[in-house]
Symmetry: C2
Subunit: 387 residues, 2 copies
């Protein structure tokens, strides 16, 4: 990073938090033990791994033994869905899955893989203009052979919260497994599994300032999964492979730090996000915000600038030292229009005119002011060029 | 690590190499971009990821586009086997797999999972007293429905090299996929896919001094796999999930450094290992070495001390500041006797009397001398106690 960048792409990945570097430095030096080794170095590694697990468990109000480390949010989602679906099908419990049209690809593509390759049935629930589904939609989609429902906590592109608690309550009565992808919510929203009727919940490290390559899956007691990968039986046989110790330590520490920010800084974060939107609205014509007006992630602002190509806006912002994104960064360098914007019924041209600003706890008023200073002219120029 | 430890457990995990810390520090600071983001930070991350891929590809003589990052050796083995087997079965090419009795659990358990859960047939080839198989054994085991053979390059517990080149040559003629787990060989042996008839080859980061949580899989052109996890289509859709950038950079750098050591330091490494064995042999009665006499990893020494419990030896060594192991550290804290020692026909009591010393490029003559100084008395004491 050669110059100071105004980073408004926290939903793609967050900067490594202050405090993480110090926490992980020992694992770049002498603390290199394998947690499975029985000698002193191994025991120290095991102790540090379990301390990290405690921090993650504490962050989501889970018992220690229900938290399993993975290589990231994508693996957590895959392990939850593939693992639960394969186990249930093998036991003859059914083969029908339900999810929504606005899930992250790590959920949606995974469900479709099962439908196309392993004889599962899949219902993808449509959403309304805000990206919402109703509990009734889920209930109506249930069949005798339904084994798993996966609904995200909050959408990564437009920020809309989905009615997890209500859905989970009904599914628990009916004894149907419920998974939620909490990857995008965990940074700003209090995710507490002791108060949420979920069986499986996915977390990611790099979205809260830990390293890339680490995540976790909460698995409620008694819920059984087929592992995705087999071997040395680490993570209580659910996830074999030498543990990513430096990653786990970074995730534990980031959980601890994020819990503090969520208390102290979230009002300020929401205020900055709202300030950005008000500024855009008052200085630029023909703009609209995507996602639920109220029940929306406090750091997320998806804006459609009618008549201005999103890609052109991003490139111009990039030239001006501002990092934002179109849809999800996870669609690997893709500038295709987003399945989420399509699902909320945004016309294709407006979807292509969309930019996602996602703020973080380190975002400042000065940064927002600067963006608001350059954005109107930048949009005008692009609209002129687009003709 | 509170005191200086003599570390002779490199096959479990290697110390983070000098030079790795400096290489990865930027990713704990400002270089936090998501390689899938199109802005400057994302593009820088992508560039660094691809540079790391070049280093790994160069290390094994592979084209850049045939190297895929994974979360480690276990995932690489699982992706190779599950991915190739599921793809071939779906295409109606067959459902028979062949492997050996001395594979790492990440191969053996994975093959057994397919046998038990997905209607595959499995042949596990027995080995001789050295842990060897013959090419004829493989040929005899082939059936019309054989789709994949997985044979490790060198065994992680006893060090024996298996006849990869000969097996691969025959399988290529017959158009049957061939996977090899090169995880334990890559540190000391020249692994070059341009000279080896393999279709899939697994690598691990932490065995050569990179971080834990990163590995790679070589996939020959035209070989198709089902992904293990689905989502944002990273790694050319073979391995979705935000890339572990810091891990990939550490692996690239470790490959570069290891290539140098393999040239410069391997004679010295073999000499130290042989010195350890000669010293043990000349000072302690009733000892035997496991594995092939000659075709064996130059850093690995598996010794059975008749009448002395391996676990007791390890604990006493640990107290004396020496780290070694019984079988594979990957069997998660397990002190069960090893499936490898069982496969070579070692009687159960002798298997339980076994210690694996695995040296690294940083091992010194002084360290070996010190171990040889304390070991005879230590073994005597344990034999007396066990006696």
């Amino acid at each position: 990073m050669s110059k100071k960048i105004i980073y408004l792409d926290h939903n793609a990945t967050a900067p490594v938090r202050a405090g993480i570097k110090e926490a992980v430095l020992p694992y770049l030096n002498s603390a290199f033990g394998n947690p499975s080794s029985i000698h002193a170095l191994g025991r120290e590694a095991k102790r540090d791994l379990e301390r990290a697990r405690e921090q993650v468990a504490g962050f989501i109000g889970a018992p220690l033994t229900n938290v399993f480390f993975t290589s990231g949010g994508t693996e957590s989602n895959n392990l939850a869905i593939l693992g639960a679906a394969r186990f249930a099908k093998k036991k003859g419990k059914g083969n029908h899955l339900i999810t929504t049209a606005v899930e992250h690809d790590a959920v949606l593509t995974t469900c479709k893989y099962l439908e196309q390759n392993e004889d599962f049935e899949l219902t993808v629930l449509p959403v309304d203009q805000y990206g919402m589904i109703t509990v009734d939609q889920v209930v109506e989609a249930l069949k005798d052979n339904t084994i798993l429902v996966s609904v995200m906590m909050a959408n990564n592109e437009i920020g809309t919260f989905l009615p997890i608690k209500e859905i989970g309550t009904i599914l628990r009565e009916k004894d149907i497994l419920f998974h939620t992808d909490a990857v995008q919510a965990m940074n700003t929203y209090d995710v507490n599994v002791s108060q949420l009727p979920v069986d499986l919940l996915s977390l990611s490290g790099h979205k809260i300032g830990a390293l890339k390559g680490i995540g976790a899956l909460y698995v409620r007691s008694q819920v059984r999964l087929h592992p995705l990968q087999h071997g040395g039986e680490q993570e209580m046989t659910l996830r074999s492979g030498t543990e990513n110790l430096i990653g786990a330590v970074s995730l534990g520490k980031a959980c601890e730090l994020t819990a503090q920010d969520k208390k102290e800084k979230r009002d300020q974060l929401k205020q900055l996000r709202d300030c950005l939107w008000k500024g855009i609205q008052s200085s630029i014509e023909d703009v609209s915000v995507n996602g639920a007006p109220e029940a929306r992630l406090i750091n997320t602002l998806s804006v459609s600038f009618k008549g201005a190509e999103g890609e052109a806006i991003l490139l111009a912002l990039d030239m001006a030292g501002v990092a934002a994104s179109s849809g999800s960064a996870c669609a690997s360098g893709s500038v295709e229009s987003s399945h989420v914007l399509e699902a909320i019924g945004l016309p294709e041209d407006l979807a292509e005119n969309t930019v996602r600003f996602s703020l973080g706890y380190s975002t400042t008023q000065e940064e927002i002011d600067h963006v608001l200073e350059i954005l109107p002219q930048l949009i005008s120029r692009i609209r002129l060029a687009n003709g």
